[in-house]
């Protein structure tokens, strides 16, 4: 193989160096482009924060090899450069902190033929305990199967138990499903799910923010849960213990402003304890059917006419929301005026405006930027 574009090689290098989310690096890339950012990382010509975050792996350049490997598996590296980048979905991360695993992914390694943005345009995360009961597997199969049959993509983590039942139900219904991994997409994890992951890649996508060869680790599972929630319109927990990965995914759902839903079960079943407690403590809304899920996770703003601005403020968060709000209802603003109005650095405003335009929230002409109606 070889012969990758320099810009894509730079993305692959950066993905390898940061191993996950790094909002300051993403902002640097948005400002100067991936090649200059990669050069700065390589030469350690960085802010002390970014230097600390990248110096340990700055010398590792496996970019060409990683791209070769994912290509040989029929996959690809998807970056904000690509049309299929799900920027609309990932805007919700903009409002969050700059912690190690708090932001959106820098890039996504993907197996599967469909564009990622289309796959997750209408998607629900269905997650739960590995120690699922037969009730839990049955309910997951019904719920995920019904949702998939109605055109919802089922996003989950490919774990044993509820996750696997959700993926399988989507496949069985002839629907779409996305598995988000805590390791490289070249690794079958858990090992027993090799065939399932192949089927998911064929009919949907297997996705990871980690480059090929990355092994699973506890913090990567937590970061993966954040992506499962981030790539979905809502999070449904079917069975979960009180301390479980599924509750972590649910808490990411809340943080990202996604509806968090939980399916009840017999109070005599330990597997439903977490769901019941989440409902009881107001952390999740009870859902008993796919129809209930659609009511909660369905298109926003449909009920009140679906006007553009209401929708924008529902889905935008953080700087993106502040920039949107700084635009007048009628008329134009320059990036500099928006920067002053919103109190956000001009570089950040310049980086976010194209994303907002791509998602149809704002438009631009020779006069400046304006709200799309």
């Amino acid at each position: 193989m070889s012969g990758h574009e320099p810009r894509r090689l730079a993305w692959a290098y950066l993905s390898k160096v940061v191993q996950g989310s790094c909002p300051p690096l993403a902002r640097l890339v948005a400002a100067v482009g991936p090649e200059d950012a990669a050069r700065a990382v390589r030469e350690r010509d960085l802010s002390s924060f970014l230097d600390r975050r990248t110096s340990a792996r700055a010398h590792l350049d496996t970019a060409a090899r990683d791209l070769d490997l994912v290509t040989s598996l029929g996959g690809r590296l998807v970056t904000p450069d690509d049309d299929e980048w799900p920027s609309w979905r990932l805007l919700a991360f903009d409002g969050l902190g700059d912690g190690r695993d708090d932001g959106g992914p820098l890039a996504l390694w993907v197996l599967g033929g469909r564009p990622v943005d289309e796959l997750v345009a209408r998607s629900v995360a269905v997650v739960g305990t590995r120690a699922a009961s037969s009730y839990g597997e049955h309910v997951t199969a019904e719920l995920a199967g019904d949702l998939a049959a109605e055109g919802w993509t089922i996003v989950s983590g490919a774990a044993f138990g509820i996750d696997a039942a959700a993926h399988r139900a989507a496949l069985g219904a002839g629907g779409l499903t996305v598995a988000v991994l805590a390791c490289g997409v070249d690794r079958a994890y858990p090992a027993g799910h090799g065939r399932l992951l192949q089927q998911i890649a064929r009919d949907g996508a297997v996705v990871s923010e980690y480059p090929p060869g990355t092994t699973p680790a506890r913090y990567r599972f937590l970061a993966r849960n954040r992506l499962v929630a981030g790539l979905s319109d809502g999070v449904v927990v079917v069975e979960a213990g009180w301390r479980s990965g599924a509750r972590n995914t649910a808490s990411w759902g809340r943080r990202l402003g996604r509806p968090v839903l939980a399916v009840p079960g017999p109070v005599t079943s330990a597997a439903s304890t977490g769901c019941h407690r989440m409902i009881r403590e107001g952390e999740a809304t009870l859902v008993a059917s796919a129809a209930d899920v659609v009511v909660e996770a369905g298109p926003i703003g449909v009920e009140d006419g679906g006007g553009g601005p209401a929708r924008a403020l529902d889905v935008l968060a953080g700087d993106a929301a502040a920039i949107y709000e700084a635009l007048p209802a009628h008329g134009w603003r320059s990036p500099r005026a928006l920067s002053e109005e919103a109190g956000i650095p001009i570089e950040r405003v310049r980086a976010l405006l194209p994303a907002l335009e791509l998602d149809g929230f704002v438009g631009s002409d020779e006069t400046g930027w304006f709200r799309e109606r």
Copy 2:
């Protein structure tokens, strides 16, 4: 038998004439006493509202016979004259309307040896569908048994299914239970529960606001549900269809300011549909165990030190709350001053103050009325 006190005969007569709740009549009795009220009813010397409400049965005087009958069954008529009258519990009805079945009971016909006020001092209603599943009966047995073993009286409606399971669990745990009937306490309804009702009367109480001989009727079941909620610290629904008596009891619980709780079950079970929807729509809090119920229905104000005034304002409603609030934190007020301050007729203030005193919220001396600390 015979030889009943004239005052008690008057209560029995009034209970027979109004057949249930009649707040205007209760106020008349509080103002002039039962004998003068009975005379006014008999002679139709009444407001047109009360005349309409009582004229159809004013000529029926079965008071002595009714009292004889209930005595022969080992029972009694309990009225606001009696120390065991659960006035504290029934204050919640004061804030409600003057509809036919909206108020507290005028009097209670009771089988069972224990004082009613003690029986319901710490009590939970456990209700649900007649068409209970084995899961529902199992969970009811666990929950009601655990609550009864911890000293909670289980209040229910003696119906088939969840109600019966709740009563039986309380009896089985050696605890207390109260059955509230929609017919006279001399009738075994449902017929198959004759023996169960005898056991309940032996270890707790069988209660009705209708005189002996009254047959069940649909509106009496709804009125009965209101009393089930009214006599309890909280309402737990174990299994219920969407349109069911148990939901009616739950809605009375809400109206009376009682915590309304629902037990989830498999989403595959039609018997849990009503519980799930109540939880989903915020009409009930999910509970999965007796411990959850105790947290919700347990003593009010315990968490923040249990001060008197906070507790009073939590449990008082309507005129009673207004009169309590019209009292200064320190010092005294006359009934007339309270009437002016609270905007409540002086007769009503005079009628409610003794009830508030009986319940320990207010006190009086030669100077006037004051808040109890």
